[in-house]
């Protein structure tokens, strides 16, 4: 939000991107204000903190999804990758031949090695995406939906459709549950904050970050300007899969379980927060910061709905309506500006 004020100062020349981010911050403020009025105990520091920390996993996913969306591509495989890496990290780590229960036996690798291998597999899924999209030029939405099923399917085979959660070494649960000294803030949340900051720096200050925008703004012109479009897309897909992999490892560690149907629908959530944050699939437009704002908007809505003890149907519908209105509002706001 600090940067928004900075760009707000240069109001006459504000770019569409900052305009939209600012617009969504405004929307966020309005929704937050309404929630504070309607929901008991909503306005308190503890709750505001919850709102930011609740969605750490979606925000981490959102980073990769946002980058790809800016280049004009989708990544719908992230939910599947979370499930796969979680399950793999557990399976690699479980003691070998410790029980007659098949699901209690694993490969007995040390935790660090298990995590490394699981992340490698995640990147592998990203590489499949990259191959199809950057090389064969297959529409990203279709291929990533396919790899989402593939990743989740492999996770299901390893867990026989359920989960693996026994005979794990103690250090398995460490990363996911440990909090920062003296606080309740989890390492996962810290990872999220660090990644968002890194992503912001990457996006705004590095050459590779700039190229994401170039590809999205005009992929042919990028090619003719010497950007290796295919290679760049490929690394973004692998990055997105890696981020999903990290999320998968953290979630598996937090619950000490590798669940095959974990993170179902997260790819849609990640897409929705990016859209709410003003990232445009038309390409070349949007930012991690906007995605973060989008995530907070959704988090406020969810949190308020829980606080009001609304029925799940209402919660789902309200989320649907909010996204619908936000997308329409963005479209009109942008059209008016032109």
């Amino acid at each position: 939000m600090r940067t928004n004020q900075a760009s707000g100062a240069a109001l006459p020349q504000m770019s569409n991107e900052s305009f939209l981010t600012l617009f969504m911050v405004g929307v966020l403020a309005v929704i937050f204000a309404i929630a504070c009025l309607v929901v008991p105990n909503f306005f308190q520091a503890r709750n505001v903190l919850n709102i930011v920390t609740n969605n750490w996993f979606i925000i981490i996913l959102g980073i990769g999804v946002t980058f790809l969306l800016i280049t004009g591509n989708f990544d719908m495989s992230v939910g599947g990758v979370i499930a796969l890496t979680g399950v793999l990290s557990v399976w690699f780590c479980q003691g070998a031949n410790v029980s007659q229960n098949v699901l209690a036996n694993g490969l007995g690798l040390p935790y660090i090695l298990a995590v490394g291998l699981a992340l490698l597999c995640a990147v592998g899924i990203g590489a499949i995406n990259a191959f199809f999209i950057a090389r064969l030029k297959v529409p990203s939405i279709i291929i990533t939906l396919g790899t989402m099923m593939l990743a989740r399917g492999i996770a299901q085979i390893i867990t026989h459709g359920a989960q693996r959660n026994t005979s794990l070494p103690d250090e398995f649960g460490l990363v996911g549950t440990a909090a920062l000294p003296g606080t309740n803030i989890k390492i996962s949340v810290l990872v999220m904050v660090v990644l968002v900051l890194l992503a912001f720096v990457f996006e705004k200050m590095t050459v590779s970050g700039r190229r994401i925008y170039l590809i999205g703004a005009n992929s042919e012109a990028s090619r003719l300007s010497g950007v290796k479009v295919g290679r760049h897309l490929a690394s973004l897909y692998m990055l997105s899969a890696l981020l999903a992999g990290i999320t998968g490892i953290l979630l598996a560690s937090e619950y000490k379980a590798g669940v095959s149907n974990r993170a179902t629908g997260y790819e849609f959530d990640a897409l929705v927060i990016a859209l709410l944050g003003g990232v445009s699939i038309a390409g070349g437009f949007g930012s991690v910061l906007g995605m973060f704002v989008g995530a907070i908007i959704l988090s406020v809505v969810t949190s308020a709905a829980t606080g009001l003890l609304l029925s799940p149907d209402w919660q789902f519908t309200i989320k649907g309506v909010v996204t619908f209105l936000a997308i329409l509002a963005q479209r009109f706001a942008l059209d008016r500006r032109k």
């Binding site: 396919g146 593939l150 085979i157 789902f316 649907g320 996204t323 329409l328 479209r331």
Partner: protein, 363 residues
């Protein structure tokens, strides 16, 4: 600067040589290209059928040790075939209309949600005493409206199809969930408001060869769609818009209107699928259409419809839909249930690769 004149003379002779060489090489290249195109076209024409036959063949022999040929439980037993066709009704209905939309270069991810909503509304209407024709008419009108909303977002507000329909996916599903009262998972018969038993006549009762009305209605509308695609201007304009929108518009075709109509049609077909699902289950389940869009995409791609639009075939999509149903039901007792997702994903990836290899015929 460079010695221009002598060079020019050198070029002249070179030009002569070069021309003859490149001519012949160009011709041989062209010939090779033509032959490979012809081969590709031939494979493209039949591969979907071969695919279906292969799958049927594999599943037929898969359990031979356990069951008798054509005996109960065999993949090709009458009961199994009837069952497969009956459960394929919604996906066939949906994917048929979906194909036309994909041919014109657009996509609708909200079909599953629209189908759920239709199922819920249909069950609600029947339960509250509306007659069958009235309920069907009402739900169809609603389906058209849902499709038209998508059309409006995509064609008028120019929101990317994937995003617009992703948003309505959530919206329609939310509405369906809301209609179902708290504490219930679906609109179904309760003590105070019983569901008339005849609700499942449509999608359950055997009218001919063990198959219900819903199947024959689906067959009929699919036949209509096939004719629509092959013989009417709608099919032709859809292909023209998907192939080259500028050319179509310069020829006086209103792409906006046309695609809008197609979206509405997809909505109507989703409603029809919802009706048969509700009748089949005797209840309106707000989640009954979940993930249907994925199956639709797989079926359409298997059927050889181009990603980018311009060409495709409703008939082949239906074969694609049958393949999906074969995979889901045929695998049930052959391999463990938890292998199914990978099987389906593999079918999708195979479809994508085939599509990539076969659809693009190079000029």
């Amino acid at each position: 600067m460079g010695p221009v004149a002598p060079q020019k003379a050198a070029w002249a002779s070179k030009e002569q040589e070069g021309k003859t060489v490149s001519r012949t090489s160009q011709e041989s290249v062209r010939g090779r290209l033509e032959r490979s195109n012809a081969l590709r076209a031939n494979i493209k024409r039949v591969y979907i059928y071969v695919f279906l036959v292969l799958i049927v063949a594999i599943f037929s022999v898969a359990k031979l040790g356990q069951v008798e040929m054509f005996g109960r439980g065999h993949f090709l037993s009458p009961n199994s075939i009837v069952n497969l066709l009956r459960s394929a009704v919604p996906i066939m209905t949906l994917a048929g209309a979906f194909t036309l939309l994909m041919i014109s270069g657009y996509i609708d991810l909200s079909v599953g949600s629209a189908m759920s909503l239709a199922a819920v509304v249909f069950a609600l209407m029947i339960r509250s005493g509306a007659s069958l024709p009235a309920s069907i008419a009402g739900v169809l009108v609603m389906g058209i409206a849902l499709g038209a909303i998508n059309g409006f977002l995509v064609m008028k507000l120019r929101i990317t199809p994937v995003i617009a329909t992703l948003v309505t996916l959530n919206l329609y599903k939310g509405i369906a969930l809301l209609i179902v009262p708290d504490g219930l998972s679906a609109i179904k018969g309760t003590a105070e408001a019983p569901m008339p038993a005849w609700i499942n006549d449509y999608a359950r009762k055997d009218v001919l060869l063990g198959l219900p009305w819903a199947f024959y209605v689906a067959l009929l509308v699919i036949a209509a769609l096939v004719i629509l695609q092959r013989k009417t201007i709608i099919g032709k304009y859809a292909a023209a818009i998907g192939g080259n929108r500028t050319a179509a518009e310069l020829s006086g075709i209103s792409a906006v209107k046309m695609v809008w109509i197609l979206y509405a049609a997809v909505g109507a077909f989703a409603a029809l699928a919802g009706i048969s699902r509700a009748s089949y289950m005797s209840l309106g389940d707000p989640l009954s259409g979940d993930n249907m869009e994925l199956d639709c995409i797989i079926a359409v791609l298997l059927g050889g419809t181009a990603f980018s639009g311009g060409e495709g075939s409703v008939a082949k999509t239906i074969v694609g839909a049958l393949i999906i149903m074969c995979v889901t039901t045929g695998l049930m007792t052959v391999i463990p249930a938890y292998w199914q997702t990978v099987a389906k994903a593999s079918v999708l990836l195979i479809a994508v690769i085939l599509n990539h290899l076969l659809v693009r015929v190079k000029a």
